[in-house]
């Protein structure tokens, strides 16, 4: 009884500090301890800007699967929708989310709304507009190439917007070139051979991915973690450690990739956001 009261006080203080600092509150220590190790794909708090990188458009399926798996975790009673945004002319390159596929993947197709703007300006506007909505759990934006409009300023804007509203933004990006961005978490998703199927070693089984956490900002409740894991998708448990990958050993707590943005810039933007 006493312990829970103490926890509540700590959580309250955390929330207050977060309010002062305009940041998402730190994840509770109890939650972390229960997980045994820091597995940010399991408990990354809402209200963050994520980047999910994959090497090329042919790995778009895995990247979308990872983003939707994370998005599904954030769906709740008050936040029921996930938006997928993609430039209309890029649909053929990476494919459109397919309702029947979502269903067999384990994602409710009714919860996904597609937005297909014509240019990157409209796309960024749509992300901001969508994440500001109280009922949106996550926005998944598929962005091919390296558009100039999506610079550090734009990503900082999105990140502040996400923090303010508590919805998450997942930018699905392709290529090897990383630009400066204000994303709280940067993931790299690589293909991995699927889980074995009992009685049929010629058939692909449950989806698996190799996920590398390239960067995480220490201040956002996800710690200055880095690490890589092999994840296994099951409809019941979402993305979780595949058998034989103990993960915890590979997560390395390290210095944050970089700290706060330059004071002047941060100040200006926090006013804007």
């Amino acid at each position: 009884m006493q312990g829970s009261a103490k926890e509540r006080v700590v959580a309250e203080l955390r929330a207050r500090i977060a309010g002062v600092e305009r940041r998402a509150p730190l994840a509770g220590t109890a939650e972390r301890e229960r997980d045994g190790a820091a597995l940010p794909f399991r408990h990354a708090p809402p209200g963050l800007l994520h980047e999910i990188w994959s090497a090329s458009a042919r790995e778009a399926g895995g990247a979308l699967g990872f983003a939707l798996g994370q998005g599904r975790r954030l769906i709740g009673r008050a936040r029921q929708a996930v938006l997928f945004l993609q430039l209309a002319h890029e649909a053929q390159e990476t494919g459109l989310p397919y309702g029947a596929g979502l269903k067999s993947f384990g994602f409710d197709p009714q919860a996904l709304t597609l937005g297909r703007p014509r240019d990157i300006g409209e796309l960024l506007w749509a992300i901001e507009e969508a994440v500001a909505c109280r009922a949106v759990a996550a926005v998944v934006a598929d962005i091919g190439g390296a558009p100039r409009a999506l610079d550090f300023t734009a990503s900082r804007r999105l990140s502040l917007r996400a923090q303010a509203s508590g919805g998450s933004v997942f930018l699905v990006r392709y290529g090897a070139q990383r630009e400066a961005s204000a994303a709280a978490l940067r993931w790299r998703v690589e293909p991995a051979p699927s889980a074995p199927v009992r009685f049929d070693d010629r058939a692909p089984g449950d989806a698996r991915l190799k996920v590398v956490l390239e960067k995480s900002l220490s201040a956002r409740g996800v710690g200055g973690l880095k690490g890589e894991w092999i994840l296994n998708w099951t409809e019941a448990h979402g993305w979780d450690l595949a058998d034989g990958d103990q993960g915890a050993g590979r997560a390395v707590a390290g210095a944050p990739a970089y700290g706060a943005p330059p004071a002047a810039l941060g100040d200006r933007l926090s006013q804007a956001g």
């Binding site: 009673r77 459109l96 029947a100 009714q110 709304t113 597609l114 009922a135 699927s194 692909p204």
Partner: protein, 508 residues
């Protein structure tokens, strides 16, 4: 009220090209009809010079050597006339173009309950015709209780206002052509010696029907007001509206949007007083050069919140940006609401409750108003087993109920991403009807480690479209772990000797 503009074609050209109006030359328009060039429209000078419609161009040139003849552009004339008609909605909300004799030239206005604003029917008629004459149009108008009678009067006895009880007397003396009949019918009546409408009264209806068909009687009854005739309004009839006229024309879109915001507040108060909300909002911009621009936005659920309406228009205007053309200025703005339905005050409070559906609808409204209604969509299942037909996109703002029969089977392997058009690939298989072993897709070679299938999907033979072949779908995983959905088109040795392969989707 019907306004008849007999010289619309030439007046319109003269207004568009001032030099043409300034020259003292007769103007005529001709059209190629069965190899001959015949006059189809004349201005007053040309008519005065003894030319007539239907005359051949060479005859007309002989009669009147200084004639300025041009080829007619019917499409242009019709569309300009439609704009011109829309502009008249500043006089009455229900305006339509009567296309019985020509696609342009006749305008019908329903002035029920409007005339008193102009000080009576006579003064309204005078006001509208004077206004058009000042702009250089030849116009004749008449007011009557039925569209048919007003049309007849406008052509043959303009300037009149006829009450319902006088209609039979007023129409009796007009020629039969006043009944909007086709040429053959008029000719037949004249041959029978029936020249005036009055001569048709009391004739044996059975005989008339047998000789001229039902349309004659119908037109007669319509003109006399015995049969109600409906006109199709060109613009949606606003159920509720608010408008503002400017002392000076405005040209900036920002000013227009500010006005729209103000009008939105007025309209919202109006709707609130009635306990109603609306789903469609239309902003009419009346330009001083007689064009009307319409911006329409739709909301997913009935609303009357001024801020939301204004935001939808602001987004819609952003999408417009380059196309906005105020011409010489906008003299009046009208905001109208249609699809009005009762909206309880409690429903507004939904914003405060925990149900996010109202918020989501607002979001979709805003996105659709800026990105276009088709750009914000959700997936709807269709009862089909052809993968690309099984799902369609429908606008998120106009949801329809799901078909429970169409729900896909979650047990079937279906990719997370589907390519809208399958891409042809080069595949090597160990045997022609076996699983794929290697492929080249987008110029990159892949070697498959595992594959499952085939899932055979047959043609929907009951659908139109020939030449479709059976598809064998495989889930194939390459050595690094990318999972693809590919299919072989055509059954080997049964439907085709060389089956082709296609890439159709990507799995997680």
């Amino acid at each position: 009220m019907v306004l008849h503009l007999p010289r619309w074609a030439t007046d319109c050209l003269k207004r568009a090209d001032r030099r043409l109006g300034a020259l003292p030359l007769p103007l005529a328009l001709y059209e190629r009809q069965q190899g001959a060039m015949r006059l189809v429209a004349l201005d007053a000078r040309a008519a005065g010079a003894g030319l007539s419609e239907g005359q051949s161009l060479s005859d007309a040139r002989a009669l009147c050597p200084e004639l300025d003849a041009r080829e007619i552009d019917r499409g242009m004339l019709t569309s300009v006339f439609a704009d011109f008609a829309d502009w008249h909605s500043n006089a009455s909300p229900i305006v339509s173009v009567l296309t019985d004799s020509m696609p342009y030239g006749d305008l019908a206005l329903d002035i029920t309950g409007v005339a008193h604003l102009f000080g009576g029917e006579n003064r309204m008629l005078a006001h509208l015709t004077e206004r058009l004459e000042m702009l250089g149009f030849t116009v004749r108008g008449a007011v009557a209780g039925s569209v048919g009678a007003a049309w007849a009067l406008a052509r043959f006895a303009p300037g009149q206002v006829a009450g319902n009880e006088d209609l039979p007397d007023v129409l009796a003396s007009l020629p039969v052509a006043a009944l909007r009949l086709d040429d053959a019918q008029v000719e037949g009546l004249l041959q029978m010696g029936l020249k005036r409408v009055g001569q048709l009264y009391g004739r044996d209806r059975g005989a008339l029907r047998a000789r001229f068909g039902g349309t004659l009687l119908n037109r007669l009854d319509q003109a006399l007001g015995l049969v109600e005739e409906r006109v199709t309004p060109r613009l949606p009839i606003p159920e509720r509206h608010a408008e503002r006229r400017f002392a000076e024309p405005v040209t900036l879109i920002d000013d227009v949007m500010l006005t729209a915001r103000d009008l939105g507040r007025q309209l919202s108060a109006q709707l609130e007083a009635e306990g109603a909300g609306a789903q469609s909002f239309h902003l009419f911009l009346y330009r001083i050069d007689h064009k009307v621009m319409t911006l329409s936005v739709n909301a997913a659920r009935a609303t009357r919140e001024a801020g939301h309406i204004a935001r939808l228009f602001a987004n819609r205007a952003e999408r417009l940006s380059g196309e906005f053309d105020a011409g010489f200025g906008i003299e009046a703005v009208r905001l109208a609401a249609t699809s009005v339905s009762p909206l309880d005050t409690t429903q507004i409070g939904a914003f405060e409750t925990d149900d996010g559906a109202a918020d989501l609808d607002r979001l979709y409204d805003r996105m659709a108003s800026r990105l276009g209604p088709l750009a914000v969509s959700r997936q709807k299942f269709v009862n089909s087993h052809i993968p690309e037909r099984a799902v369609t996109l429908e606008p998120a703002v106009a949801r329809t109920p799901d078909d429970p029969q169409a729900m896909p089977d979650a047990g079937l392997p279906r990719p997370l991403r589907l390519l809208p058009r399958p891409e042809q690939i080069e595949v090597v298989a160990e045997v022609p009807d076996g699983p794929p072993a290697r492929m080249v897709w987008r110029r990159v070679a892949y070697r498959f480690a595992r594959a499952s299938g085939p899932e055979r999907i047959g043609v929907e033979w009951w659908q139109p479209g020939e030449g479709a072949l059976t598809r064998d779908y495989y889930v194939a995983e390459d050595e690094e772990g990318r999972r693809f959905w590919l299919y072989r088109e055509g059954l080997y040795a049964v439907e085709t000797g060389r089956p082709r392969w296609f890439m159709h989707g990507l799995f997680a």
